[in-house]
């Protein structure tokens, strides 16, 4: 069906319910979180840990990534093209490798209220490094941590003046499923282990 034909069939009204009349809210309210977000870095760490992320402040990112590789005895490591990763002097992957044990990636933002990291496909040069391996290490700059999702969402066009990237992902902890008897299992599709290193702004 053509667009004009499709749209011409849409009658538009506002709902009329006598028992429960619609209240018009002119200004969209902010989401108000019942928690202390004044120090976004510690709020991020608290919430990320609650969601199952292993989060720490990191002085030396190269050493930190090396420690995780050793801890997991990771043989195949892929990395993204994010600037935080480029600074490590690792090889940037050239094509997706489904068999890697560990992905090393950078985050565009951290969101304190939910302990979320944000991946940007354009900045990373792709999607696979943060998606395919069973474990990922995320490098997050301290000054990239915002209070809440609204701080990103409500200024989206300002933050991305040239339009949005092909894929923007908010990732909060390891992949989870409760589809078998509601028993929590991790890593069914996405990474089952998520390490976040918060690196100083100057790095």
């Amino acid at each position: 069906m053509q667009r004009t034909e499709f749209l011409s069939r849409l009658r538009t009204t506002t709902p009329h319910n006598v028992a429960h009349p619609l209240v018009h809210v002119a200004e969209v309210p902010a989401v108000a979180y019942d928690q202390d977000l004044d120090d976004p870095v510690s709020a991020f760490m608290r919430n990320a840990a609650m969601q199952g992320t292993q989060v720490s402040r990191v002085g030396n990112p190269r050493e930190f990534v090396g420690d995780v590789i050793a801890q997991l005895s990771a043989a195949g490591v892929i990395s993204s093209g994010d600037p935080e990763v480029a600074q490590l002097g690792f090889e940037v992957f050239d094509r997706p490798r489904p068999d890697a044990d560990l992905g090393v990636v950078g985050a565009l933002y951290g969101i304190a209220a939910t302990g979320t990291v944000v991946f940007h496909a354009g900045r990373a040069g792709g999607r696979s490094a943060s998606l395919l391996p069973p474990a990922i290490v995320v490098l997050l700059r301290e000054d990239a941590i915002v209070r809440d999702a609204g701080e990103v969402f409500r200024r989206m066009t300002e933050r991305f003046p040239d339009g949005l990237p092909s894929q923007l992902v908010l990732c909060t902890g390891p992949s989870k499923s409760g589809d078998i008897e509601l028993e929590l299992t991790t890593g069914v599709h996405g990474p089952g282990r998520v390490f976040v290193g918060i690196v100083p702004a100057s790095e």
């Binding site: 009204t13 619609l22 809210v25 997706p96 999702a149 069914v188």
Partner: protein
């Protein structure tokens, strides 16, 4: 009179002890999660705003959908406008043919369930694999979802182990973590080899031409990242104007669904991959689906299109909690299903669903966008009243006219009290009176009689 299809299905569910336990467990857990999560934000303020936001969008729907389509196309995506299920299925099938698709992977999508997309693709030889763990389980079992967000809640670990053992060609353990590991391995193979990825859409954001999918497992992200072609199917009402509205609706969605402050993955896709990206789909298609929704616009039921598919109304519904999703005989179950199904499909089976409610309004209280579902269920019952049998209509009319006159009212209550005292135990609600002492009207004068005598 023969029992209706709904009653037969419901009776089967009520007699299934294992299902009863699973339903109670799941709905209690989700409802508790929602209750706790509502305390973590300005819940009531956000609900009221969300209702107003959704109403505003529907009142400008042609403009908002146009903007979404323009933005998707500006980013190199394709938009298809599907009037009904057949048009949507034909389009996806044509994309599959053109891209020589042999294998398609899907992440959970109620819209694609609604149009029976899998069958349409399989009819032309495409293998379609559901990748949400719950959806995969019921696909292997050849069943339909029994809950919006927990489609396989009626299956226990032994059922799942049995299904997986069948495809493994050997015994698979029934430990959930091991079952998940098995699913990861099997489905990973499918993700990597699939030619086409099909997702639903939780929200389409008009301002930037972005489609949002929300998953906990990450399969939504896999499906929209690995195959060369990505098709997203969106019920036309699932659009928002901008990211500010999305902020509110997303905050409500995951809290209302499971009590999570946010789902593990929120994937925002804006067009196909760009030149500097090593992976991602080369083609992005957005199918905007009407399939009966435009008939609901402009009616007293319009607000049902505000729904963001969180499943909160199912978890609190005293009827759903007893009979489960399959008893509704529709893709959409619970209070939302009982309203939406008869509006989408004008069949006698769909019409009787409005009876599957106690009108207690727990659904409305739980709904994150405040849809007055109980009012709609009542309207639907009013609409089907003329279909009642003649004898039933006469009986109701007689009752209405009797109780409109004080004398006839008094006579009827006296008669009822006498009859109730004389009624033998064998008659009346048998199952109910098992284990209960049936109340009897007290002997002696009634309240009215004593009031008239001046005793009260």
């Amino acid at each position: 009179m023969s029992r209706s299809a709904l009653r037969v299905r419901a009776a089967g569910a009520v007699d299934d002890g294992r299902l009863q336990l699973a339903l109670q467990n799941a709905t209690d857990r989700f409802a508790l999660g929602r209750g706790l999560a509502t305390m973590s934000v300005n819940w009531e303020e956000l609900r009221e705003a969300a209702r107003s936001i959704r109403a505003g969008i529907l009142s400008r729907l042609p403009e908002v959908l146009s903007q979404l389509a323009d933005q998707v196309e500006a980013r190199g995506g394709h938009v298809f406008w599907a009037a009904d299920a057949a048009e949507a299925n034909d389009y996806v099938a044509s994309v599959a043919r053109r891209t020589s698709t042999k294998l398609a992977v899907k992440s959970k999508s109620m819209a694609s369930e609604e149009i029976h997309l899998n069958a349409a693709l399989e009819a032309q030889g495409v293998e379609v694999v559901e990748t949400d763990l719950g959806e995969w389980i019921i696909q292997l079992a050849g069943e339909t979802p029994s809950h919006i967000i927990a489609p396989a809640l009626h299956k226990n670990r032994h059922d799942v182990a049995e299904l997986f053992s069948r495809i493994a060609g050997g015994d698979v353990s029934d430990v959930p973590a091991e079952l998940c590991a098995f699913a990861r391995e099997r489905l990973r193979e499918k993700f990597v080899n699939a030619d086409l990825g099909i997702t639903g859409v939780n929200f389409g954001v008009a301002e930037t031409g972005t489609v949002i999918t929300v998953t906990n497992e990450g399969n939504g992200r896999m499906v929209s990242s690995l195959p060369r072609t990505h098709v997203a199917i969106m019920g036309m009402e699932r659009v928002v104007e901008n990211w500010t509205q999305l902020d509110v609706l997303l905050a409500l969605l995951t809290r209302a669904a499971t009590g999570q402050p946010i789902s593990v993955y929120v994937t925002a896709v804006t067009g196909p991959r760009r030149a500097n990206e090593v992976d991602g789909p080369d083609e992005f298609h957005l199918v905007i689906l009407d399939n009966g929704r435009s008939k609901i616009l402009g009616t007293e039921f319009q607000e049902v299109l505000h729904c963001i598919r969180c499943g909160a109304c199912l978890n609190v519904c005293p009827v759903y909690r007893q009979i489960g999703g399959h008893a509704y005989g529709s893709v959409y179950s619970g209070p939302i299903g009982a309203v939406l199904t008869p509006l989408l499909y004008d069949t006698p089976e769909a019409k009787e669903l409005s009876g599957a409610s106690s009108l207690c309004s727990a659904c409305w209280q739980a709904c994150p966008v405040k849809i007055p579902l109980q009012d709609m269920l009542l309207h639907l019952r009013t609409k089907k009243a003329p279909d009642a049998r003649a004898a039933e209509r006469v009986a109701w009319k007689a009752w209405a006219s009797a109780w409109s006159s004080p004398r006839a009212y008094r006579a009827s209550t006296r008669l009822a009290a006498t009859a109730a005292r004389m009624l033998p135990d064998a008659m009346g609600p048998k199952a109910w009176s098992e284990g209960r002492t049936r109340p009897r009207p007290p002997k002696g004068p009634s309240f009215r009689q004593r009031f008239e005598r001046g005793e009260i």
